[in-house]
């Protein structure tokens, strides 16, 4: 089959690889009908997530048709149309029983690797480094889905791929970002990053009853999309974000601050950006955490900072004093997608959210390398790319 493989920093290639086969009795094989490039794939592309290996198949947002099931999968049958959540979760461990699917205790065969870097191991993730399991991703014609009796959600006909594909990651991720802010009537929420996840976080915050949502980015075309979702926008290259947020909230600061940027943030001041850029390039820190720093500094006393942007390892100049002295709550996590599939599918069905609106480009799987380049450089107002094998 054809698959999009990571071949080193800034290089992906669509290559001919063997077809997947059942390895565990609870596996299913899915013929991929739609798959997307995620902003977090760019962290892999840029080479900032450790333990990638040449030849790894990328992609953790995919859906398709079940073509084979393991002998212990009774919930799915050949021909079912499914969306596959990006974290792989067994459904049997304590974490899964508590809905913490992205920290499943059994789905990461390389837990020992992750423990060295993180103390304890999170779940396995499709196409997202060997420390997170060494699983091939879904930017391919076929994918093996472990614990197929737990993760995938069946989709009835009548909904298009583009309407439901983002249930796999970015829609629930944006939703969880807003949910972690514990939004109450009158709350003002600020969202760093107006990419697709940030856009979904904006929409989710409104659905949860936020009074006002502020979207922060530097690309006007992305801010325009957030504006369409109802957000007030700030371009951090034009205004001082901390000041602007103080002004908007009459000095209080936003009640909830969502970091939908992660480890490769940009900073408007060249010197500050260069400082972290150099440290990151020389691997002295893995993160460029400007957005997180700013989110913490901006948040109102006693407010919540919610981190859904991806971080990989260690960061410097973390404003712990601000966090502690001002009674802030820091919440974070890879999204526990399985938890949100049913309720969010319901909201798609009844028209509360139309996820397909984030798609800006549609390409063939073979064009993935061009897609990565365009997405990385934000060419052609690139917002979200859907690939079809």
């Amino acid at each position: 089959m054809k698959a999009n493989c990571w071949m080193g920093r800034n290089t992906v290639e669509v290559r001919e690889v063997p077809d997947p086969r059942i390895l565990n009795a609870r596996d299913a094989i899915v013929r991929v009908t739609s798959t997307a490039i995620c902003g977090s794939d760019l962290h892999l592309y840029d080479g900032y997530i450790p333990t990638m290996k040449k030849g790894d198949i990328l992609g953790h947002e995919f859906m398709g048709e079940v073509v084979e099931v393991g002998q212990k999968v009774s919930t799915l049958k050949v021909g079912d149309r499914v969306v596959v959540p990006f974290p792989i979760a067994c459904g049997n461990c304590i974490a899964c029983e508590h809905g913490l699917y992205s920290v499943c205790e059994n789905s990461n065969p390389n837990a020992g690797l992750a423990e060295k870097l993180m103390g304890h191991a999170p779940a396995g993730i499709f196409g997202y480094s060997h420390m997170l399991g060494g699983y091939p991703g879904g930017q391919a014609e076929y994918a093996r889905v472990p614990f197929a009796d737990v993760g995938p959600i069946k989709i009835e006909n009548g909904l298009t791929d583009e309407q439901v594909l983002f249930l796999s990651d970015i829609l629930p991720t944006g939703w969880m970002g807003a949910e972690m802010c514990d939004i109450k009537p009158g709350d003002v929420i600020a969202v760093w990053g107006a990419g697709p996840v940030g856009q979904f976080a904006v929409a989710s915050a409104f659905l949860m009853g936020a009074e006002k949502v502020i979207s922060i980015d530097r690309f006007p075309y992305r801010l325009k999309r957030a504006e369409r979702a109802g957000a007030q926008t700030l371009n951090y290259e034009e205004v001082d974000v901390l000041d602007a947020l103080r002004e908007i909230t009459a000095g209080r600061g936003p009640d909830g601050c969502i970091d939908a940027v992660g480890m490769e943030a940009h900073h408007p001041t060249g010197v500050v950006h260069a400082y972290d850029r150099v440290k990151q390039a020389t691997r002295m820190e893995t993160e460029r955490p400007h957005a997180l720093r700013e989110a913490i500094m901006s948040c109102r006393n006693g407010g919540t900072v919610s981190v859904i942007g991806v971080y990989g390892g260690l960061l410097d100049k973390f404003p712990m004093g601000s966090l502690m002295n001002r009674s802030l709550t820091l919440r974070s996590g890879q999204c526990h997608v399985q938890r949100y599939l049913e309720p969010l599918l319901g909201r798609i069905r009844n028209g509360d959210i139309d996820p397909s609106s984030v798609v800006s480009h549609r390409m063939r799987l073979e064009d993935a390398p061009r897609g990565y380049e365009m997405f990385k450089n934000k060419e052609n107002e690139c917002n979200k790319i859907v690939l079809t094998p």
């Binding site: 790894d56 390389n110 020992g112 060997h130 699983y135």
Partner: protein
């Protein structure tokens, strides 16, 4: 770790580490000045010799200051001292006049330092007995399994199940009356076999066993089962004891095992992880990067995350 372990030796070793750092830095920064003071500046090779000694001093500093138990590393300084004294001895023989006096003075200083180094090193050796446990290899690991204690105990008690999750075990056959025959894939693809017997068996609580005959290295083990608090399942605690010959032989053996790709501590943790997978999900979880499931050596040498050829 023994309570009466002598911290003073470590502190002394640390101080020597700082001394190495200072001396090494000076020797590298100003080799000419150092060779002048030492009275060897008339020799063409003095400058590079001093730099080399400086680099060596930084190595001492590295191992002494970077180690959690620096005392044993003082022996590297003792070896360095011997080398220095030898070099200085040869310089002394070649020289006369004020240069000879300077070399002699430096030699006296080095001899003095050697005494301190030797004292610390010998002290470190003597206190080792109190620190090291009787057995050089005492492994333990623990895991929480979301299954009732009775079930978890029963699965382990049927020792023929063990190879399912203990990666280096080839097979275990029960031969009746608590006795069993174990086959292990050893390093260098050799198979090692031995007999074992269950020594203690408290249902749902504890199983202990020991090797009886045929074992290259005598071994014993305990596994303890207890209820995890708040309905979190069962806490499993394992301890393995290998009766390796004590002292240097055992240590060299362990180092050799590591070189051959065995990481005993990691292996037992990974074994327990697989045990948990089998108990909770029904089988060992596999990925294309680790097709055999959690395997210590595989985690170091991953396959690419793409399907393997059939």
């Amino acid at each position: 770790m023994s309570e009466e372990y002598d911290r003073t030796t470590d502190r002394l070793a640390c101080a020597l580490g700082w001394a190495s750092l200072g001396l090494g830095a000076v020797q590298l920064a100003a080799p000419d000045a150092v060779s002048r003071i030492s009275g060897v500046d008339d020799s063409a090779g003095a400058r590079s010799a001093v730099s080399l000694v400086g680099a060596r001093e930084l190595f001492h500093a590295g191992v002494l200051l970077g180690s959690r138990e620096p005392a044993p590393w003082v022996w590297t300084r003792v070896a360095g001292d011997a080398l220095d004294l030898m070099l200085l001895g040869r310089s002394l023989a070649d020289r006369t006049g004020w240069r000879r006096q300077r070399v002699a003075a430096v030699m006296a200083a080095v001899a003095g330092i050697t005494v301190v180094d030797l004292y610390t090193a010998v002290r470190a050796n003597r206190s080792r007995g109190t620190r090291r446990m009787e057995h050089p290899m005492d492994l333990h690991a623990a895991i929480t399994i979301n299954r009732p204690r009775k079930k978890v105990y029963r699965h382990w008690r049927d020792v023929e199940n063990l190879p399912r999750f203990m990666a280096h075990l080839e097979s275990v056959e029960t031969t009746g009356d608590g006795h069993s025959h174990w086959k292990v894939k050893g390093p260098l693809k050799r198979t090692v076999e031995w007999e074992a017997e269950i020594v203690e068996d408290h249902p749902d609580e504890l199983i202990s066993w020991r090797s009886t005959k045929g074992a290259l290295v005598g071994n014993r083990g305990f596994v303890h089962f207890s209820d995890a608090p708040g309905g979190r399942g069962t806490e499993v605690r394992v301890k393995l004891i290998y009766d390796l010959p004590g002292g240097k032989v055992g240590e060299v053996g362990m180092a050799l095992a590591r070189l051959l790709g065995e990481h005993p501590e990691q292996q037992i943790r990974d074994d327990l992880r697989r045990f948990k997978q089998v108990m909770e999900t029904g089988e060992v979880v596999r990925s294309e990067g680790s097709p055999e499931g959690t395997l210590t050596s595989r985690q170091v040498r991953q396959r690419p995350a793409q399907p393997a050829m059939r």
